[in-house]
Symmetry: C2
Subunit: 330 residues, 2 copies
């Protein structure tokens, strides 16, 4: 299976890891996806992992010549949709960094390109492949906490010093789509409800010179069945903090609760036994499974194109709610 | 100092504890405050603590005869405002269960009664006297985490089997005012900002036959200075859970974070030392300090009448947002 990577702003390394995990597949080419994007770090990462991809200056030329099975899109976030649509048009399956689009118009164009293509697409909703989250998901799906009524999600990042693409809405897309998309996906993936409305707020105050980057954001989603979910996002994790990200999720059901956070995965199944750690799920590799799924559509894969688009839409509606400070229906 | 207690639906025992802590003050009388309210448990608690209050059938008669310095109001929540206003009118200082009112009209009448009375009033915003919260407050106030940008608050209770007063909006007032008032107070007390708007949702689905009682609720408050706060409330804490309440607060500032929860009080001051436990503040007794403050207005007391009213208003606006599913400005 032939793979090309476009851009190295997002998590292009998922691809390298997946190729290594599967021990098959060829990284044929790499190219920048956005104006001014340098792919030196990606070239080094590829070389260190035993790959020898051709470096192209133009990703269209690369796709045209290499005709890869899979195009990985990880350029500036504002270019995800356009590049992914072109890759679909050129006959590639697409593995694209989240959010899949940063404007409603781009999302519509991407969905149309996908519908016309007959190809497969997945956004990098990587938490669906993180053992703690998979373990929680399995417990929820087997009904261990009853019916979900409430979710509380948190993403907290260190700000560090972020480059120019993060500082402009056009290239960055906003903190709710970039950081929040995972948390918004949790609400949807765990509850299996649809989004009904969202109110949100965000602010770029105190962002230490990072232009339009929103340092803080909070969202309240009402979902079908009167299920509610909050998402709290910040870039205020102290620099000395032990891990880069402080991800938390509390899922409250009619029978019990599950939470993921600094104490691991803890479940109370309402059976009188109290809180207990939930064993982690075995580690599965997202990109390796995507390759398997391309090779054999019967092979399981956890992130559908429909979910990729729907979560993107939810991010954009939340961002709109925060921009305009209005309640947005779905 | 002479004290009378009206009702025993709320936390009337704060009063008994306070009298014991201070070792002075007399519990002169007790009476029900709402139709059908029984005060047997309160009479037993008083007797067990060495008090011998006269039991009245009518609290107005009690206040008229006993002329207490302080009337404690802890009847059905929907009657708080009316009874508190009468007590002020009859010349008592008032220590009232939160929320101080369950309708906007009642809140206005209570504020007017307070303004006319020249007496003092405090709602039982008891977390301002809980050592973990006091420790966090002191750290925030000395600037240890910089400027607050974001707060996430949680109240999670066991439902158990709750009596009739909890099952009707008229007597209960709603879960956002009853359970949420503490969390809403945290946003205000810690941030020292004003509320600008609130969106909220609540639902009585799956409430195991508890009538109108909302089992779940979430609120998103935008405050002045673009400070944001979520409040998540549920009655879904499993029956076997180790403590009745699972209270959590995460406060995110420009320099660091403080959180209160199952791991205690943890602070990261952004000094490179990472997360550390914050020593608890010495325990102070809320009602004892209220008595001290009545005796001497110069004596410190943490809950002003203005704060009691403002937090009540915030609760009612959040409940309105949830009832109507609209964004409510302040």
């Amino acid at each position: 299976m032939k793979v090309c990577i476009i851009g190295c702003t997002g998590h292009a390394y998922y691809t390298i890891n997946g190729l290594k995990t599967r021990g098959s597949g060829e990284l044929a080419g790499i190219a920048p996806g956005s104006p001014g994007e340098t792919i030196g770090p990606l070239a080094r990462l590829a070389a260190n992992s035993g790959h020898n991809p051709i470096e192209y200056g133009d990703y269209r030329e690369m796709l045209d010549r290499e005709k890869p099975d899979i195009a990985v899109v990880a350029c500036h976030f504002g270019d995800h949709a356009k590049v992914a649509a072109e890759a679909l048009h050129l006959g590639c399956h697409v593995f694209v960094e989240k959010p899949a689009a940063t404007t409603f118009a781009d999302l519509e164009r991407l969905k149309e390109a996908y519908a016309r293509s007959g190809k497969r697409l997945s956004a990098m909703l990587a938490y669906r492949y993180i053992p703690a989250f998979e373990a929680a998901k399995a417990a929820v799906d087997r009904g261990a906490i009853g019916r979900i009524r409430l979710l509380q999600a948190q993403k907290s990042y260190r700000l560090n010093e972020r480059g120019a693409p993060y500082r402009s809405r056009v290239t960055y897309g906003g903190t709710i789509p970039w950081v929040g998309s995972h948390a918004i996906d949790w609400l949807y993936w765990f509850s299996r409800e649809r989004f009904a409305s969202v109110y949100a707020a965000h602010s770029s105050e105190h962002n230490r010179g990072h232009g339009e980057l929103e340092l803080t954001a909070q969202c309240l989603f009402v979902m079908t069945g009167d299920v509610f979910g909050t998402v709290s996002i910040d870039y205020l994790r102290p620099d000395g903090a032990s891990a880069a990200s402080d991800d938390r999720l509390r899922i409250v059901g009619t029978k019990g609760t599950i939470e993921i956070g600094p104490r691991g995965v803890l479940a109370d199944f309402g059976d009188g036994e109290g809180e207990r750690p939930l064993p982690l799920a075995p580690r599965r590799d997202m990109f390796a499974e995507f390759m398997d799924h391309i090779a054999n559509p019967e092979a399981p894969y956890s992130i559908s194109a429909e979910d990729s688009f729907y979560v993107t839409e939810a991010c954009l509606r939340a961002r709109q709610a925060a921009d305009d400070r209005v309640l947005i229906p779905f």
